[in-house]
Structures are given as C-alpha cells and as structure tokens.
C-alpha cells in the first residue's frame, strides 16, 4: 500500500476501528440498559466486533486477547493522529463565528 502502510497494518487499523466502535457500543448498551429497551442492535454489534477480532488475529498472528489489545491501541493512536485536522476545522469554525459573523442568534422557543 502507498505511504508506507503494509496490507496487514491497514487490515489491523480498519479492524481496530471496528473493534473500537464495537467496544464503545457494547459499553453503551450495557451502561444504559433498561428493561423496556427491545432493540436488537447489540446482536449486530457483537457480530461486527467478532468479525473485526478475527481479522485482527489474522493480521497480527497472535492470540485473540493480544490482537484485541494491539488493534485497540493502534486504533486509538490512529484516531489521535487526526487531531490536527479536527482542531483545524474547529478553529476555522470558531474564526467564522467570532470574527466574521456579527449577527446574533435569537433564542428560539
């Protein structure tokens, strides 16, 4: 792959992103449990998480637990690499709000 990223690393990064999503979604489902919620979103989250874990083990060649740890750590570091872009976008928006716009927004009912 271009820019010095090998296929196995790219696979680990994509599966890490999926595992990160599944991790947060499952934590959210567990933390916000209430007996009236009948959503089946948890099933598809477990499915995509399992598939991502399987591809992470293929990518690293290690056991599931080590692969899970590797994939999640790689994904978090990867997301934090994008921080500069996020900050640049937010700074542009703040610049527009505070320096270029003079109109005040009235409270809506």
């Amino acid at each position: 792959m271009s820019m010095g990223i090998e296929f196995s690393e790219a696979l680990l990064l994509v599966s890490g992103g999926s595992l990160l999503f599944s991790f947060f979604a499952l934590v959210h489902f567990a933390s916000t449990y209430n007996q009236h919620n009948r959503s089946l979103a948890i099933l598809s989250t477990i499915l995509i998480g399992s598939a991502a874990l399987y591809s992470a083990t293929i990518s690293t060649g290690h056991g599931p637990l080590t692969s899970l740890e590797d994939a999640l750590a790689t994904a978090i570091i990867g997301i934090l690499e994008l921080l500069t872009i996020f900050l640049a976008v937010i700074t542009t928006v703040l610049f527009r709000i505070s320096l270029l716009t003079k109109r005040s927004v009235a409270a809506s009912s």
Partner: protein, 208 residues
C-alpha cells in the same frame, strides 16, 4: 502497580522497561491493564452522563469520567512498548485538548453570535486556542502523511461498522416481529395523561 507497592519501593530501584527484563511480569500487566480499565471507566461514565437527568445513574457519569481520566494520567508507570506509546499519545492529546476546549468555550460564550459579546473573554479564548496550536507545532511528529492515512483507515473501520450495525439492526428488527404497534391507551390511562398535561401546561378541560 499498586500504590502501596509503588510508595514502598526504594528510590534507587531501577525502573523496568520491558516485559522480558522484568523479574515480576505480572506487575507490568497490572499497569497495562490500568490503562484499559481507565478507558472503560471513562466510557461507562460518558454513557451514564448521556442518559440525562431522568435516570438516577446519570449523576455518576461525570465523576466516573473524572475518575477514569485521573487513573489514566496518574497511575500507569511501567508499560510495555505498545501501551507506553498509547499512554504518551493520550497524554500529549490531553495537553492539547484541554486548553483548546477551554478556549473554544470562552470564544463561543463571548462571541457576538451566541453569547454576550465581550472582548476580554474573546481575546483570552483565542489566546488559549493559539497556545494549543503552539503546543501542537512544538511537537514535530504531530503531523505526518502516514499518520493521517492511518487515522483515515481507523475512521473507515468505524464508519463501516456503523453502517453494518444500522443495516443489521434494521434487518433483525424487521424479521423478528418486534415492530408491533403499541396498544391504544385505556380510558384510565387517557385520563392520567390528560391530568399530567393539564397540571404541567396549566390548561383546563376545554383546552384553554
């Protein structure tokens, strides 16, 4: 590492850097696990916080997030390569995000668009934003093409999962027969709802 062990450690003892060189590998595993436990506590806190004031557990959200963040910053010490890289990356980001967030809040609060326009608040907000950009640029490894490409691949994984979960949930719920319509309210329930609405909105039986 447990706090008791850490404080009882003699000051001249050498810090272990790798799992191989450690005479007690389980000590390092505890510290590595502490990072994941801290992230888990923060995620649980965030979920509790997002539930809103109608739920009793929502009041534990913010304290849990603070607890997780504190554990993440203060406690991990002897880490393996991967966890050490993760910990450093998170700490570097926190050092950047904190002044930026405070600055952004000040700018929004004192900008002419949303809040009460005040130049001092606006200037101090922009000062914090500029400081965070200065911190970012002082770190030479902050921006790289390969780093951005890695981040994009992670985002791709997140978005693919999101789409799959949405489609999967739609298919599951369509095929499972859970899409029944609710039973209509009974007369007693209707009366109860009417009473609650009248009490809150201050109307009478004629809708006035």
């Amino acid at each position: 590492m447990k706090l008791v062990e850490r404080f009882s450690k003699p000051p001249n003892s050498q810090t272990r850097k790798t799992q191989e060189s450690s005479p007690h590998p389980q000590v390092m595993i505890e510290d590595a696990g502490l990072i994941w436990v801290s992230l888990l506590i923060m995620a649980i806190g965030n979920s509790f916080h997002r539930m809103g004031p109608s739920f009793e557990r929502s009041r534990f959200g913010f304290p849990l997030m603070l607890l997780g963040l504190t554990c993440l910053i203060l406690f991990p010490e002897d880490l393996a390569d991967r966890e050490s890289e993760l910990h450093t990356s998170i700490l570097r980001s926190i050092a950047l995000i904190v002044p930026f967030s405070i600055g952004a809040i000040l700018i929004l609060h004192y900008s002419p668009t949303y809040g009460e326009s005040r130049t001092t608040g606006l200037v101090s907000g922009w000062l914090l934003v500029v400081i965070s950009w200065f911190i970012l640029y002082s770190d030479k490894s902050a921006i790289s093409l390969s780093g951005t490409a890695r981040g994009m691949l992670v985002l791709l994984g997140v978005f693919v999962s999101l789409v799959v979960v949405i489609i999967g949930t739609y298919l599951f719920e369509n095929s499972s027969g859970l899409k029944h319509e609710s039973e209509p309210l009974s007369n007693e329930e209707e009366g109860l709802v009417r009473t609650i609405l009248e009490r809150h909105l201050g109307g009478d039986e004629h809708g006035n």
